[in-house]
């Protein structure tokens, strides 16, 4: 974690310096934009951290390992894919959840499948999608993405 933070700090400083050297005003504008976006997510982010902290206290580590861990097999994959497809969790909020799951013993396969279905398959937003693409095409897109998410999960499990 420390290493990760370190990378972000170094990259941010280097990019800021280059940007500042090229165009001072643009750089300040960029900072302002970044700050505005940060302000937008800060409170919801803190709230989700509270929720995850509570959930981790109530859900025993042993059941996370059992249902989403390396030994969970097809059941774990199915749980991850179905929960990810149905729930509508904003991306930036899903990452702390995913990281907590990994720390508690969930496998990369289930976490990657969960994340991918979360991002690409939308059961709740299906009616909206159908209005843009038509029912048949929207259904087809969701089904193909669901299959792709499982393939992605399995491949990541093989790689990592």
């Amino acid at each position: 974690m420390i290493n990760n933070a370190f990378i972000f700090i170094v990259v941010a400083i280097i990019l800021s310096l280059i940007s500042f050297f090229l165009d001072k005003n643009k750089t300040i504008l960029g900072f302002k934009k970044g700050l505005k976006m940060f302000k937008g997510i800060a409170i919801p982010f803190l709230n989700i951290l509270i929720l995850v902290s509570l959930a981790l206290y109530f859900i025993p580590q042993s059941s996370i390992i059992k249902y989403l861990g390396a030994g969970s097999g097809m059941l774990g994959l199915a749980i991850a894919a179905i929960v990810g497809s149905i729930t509508l969790i904003p991306g930036f909020i899903s990452y702390p959840i995913a990281a907590a799951l990994v720390k508690q013993g969930a496998s990369y396969t289930t976490v990657a499948t969960f994340m991918t279905t979360l991002m690409m398959v939308g059961v709740v937003t299906f009616p909206l999608e159908a209005r843009y693409l038509g029912k048949r095409v929207a259904a087809l897109r969701n089904i193909l993405n669901f299959i792709a998410a499982i393939i992605i999960g399995l491949l990541i499990g093989l790689i990592l």
């Binding site: 940007s19 990657a112 991918t116 690409m120 999608e129 843009y132 087809l140 990541i156 990592l160």
Partner: protein, 175 residues
């Protein structure tokens, strides 16, 4: 009063948690202390990289405005067309349902069926701000592996959709 509550719901949630934590520590309520331990760990994790990530995102936004790329969409085909829609998708932010209005614009501008679906795929999982958070939380290995595995699959889905919808009078509707 009701309006006030609805507007500040997120602050109220945060505040009640803080009060509950203070009370837990005051009375030595162990579960409360443990939950706060979890929370502190998550908070430190977040605060060490998220602010820097947003500096990077802000700079990206001013140096690579997506409007510039949008102008060229539809005119380019082949590998260059795919490349452009993927880049355009990566520069966006927000949930997937925000991508459909842009899909409509792409459709209006004459982008191919394949590229519209590649855009939707890339939008859902390759947005730069999200990749940044992903690196921070799950590490560069996971993020790289997921990106490199996902991209070919999206492109394949794009081709599949185009093949299937070719003679079926496909169109994207505007709401």
């Amino acid at each position: 009063m009701k309006k006030f509550l609805a507007k500040h719901k997120q602050y109220i949630w945060l505040l009640s948690y803080l009060i509950a934590t203070v009370v837990s520590f005051f009375f030595g309520f162990n579960p409360g202390k443990k939950v706060f331990g979890n929370f502190t760990q998550f908070f430190i994790e977040m605060i060490t990289f998220i602010p820097f990530l947003f500096i990077i995102i802000g700079l990206f936004d001013v140096w690579f405005p997506k409007e510039k790329i949008e102008k060229h969409i539809g005119q380019e085909s082949g590998i260059k067309g795919i490349f452009l829609v993927v880049i355009l998708a990566m520069l966006q932010a927000g949930p997937l349902y925000g991508a459909f209005p842009v899909a409509y614009i792409l459709y209006k501008k004459g982008a191919s069926i394949k590229n519209i679906f590649i855009y939707l795929g890339a939008f859902s999982s390759l947005k730069i701000p999200m990749l940044g958070i992903e690196i921070g939380y799950l590490g560069i290995d996971f993020t790289l592996a997921r990106t490199l595995v996902s991209l070919p699959l999206f492109i394949a889905i794009g081709y599949l959709m185009e093949w299937y919808l070719k003679d079926k009078n496909f169109k994207v509707n505007n709401l």
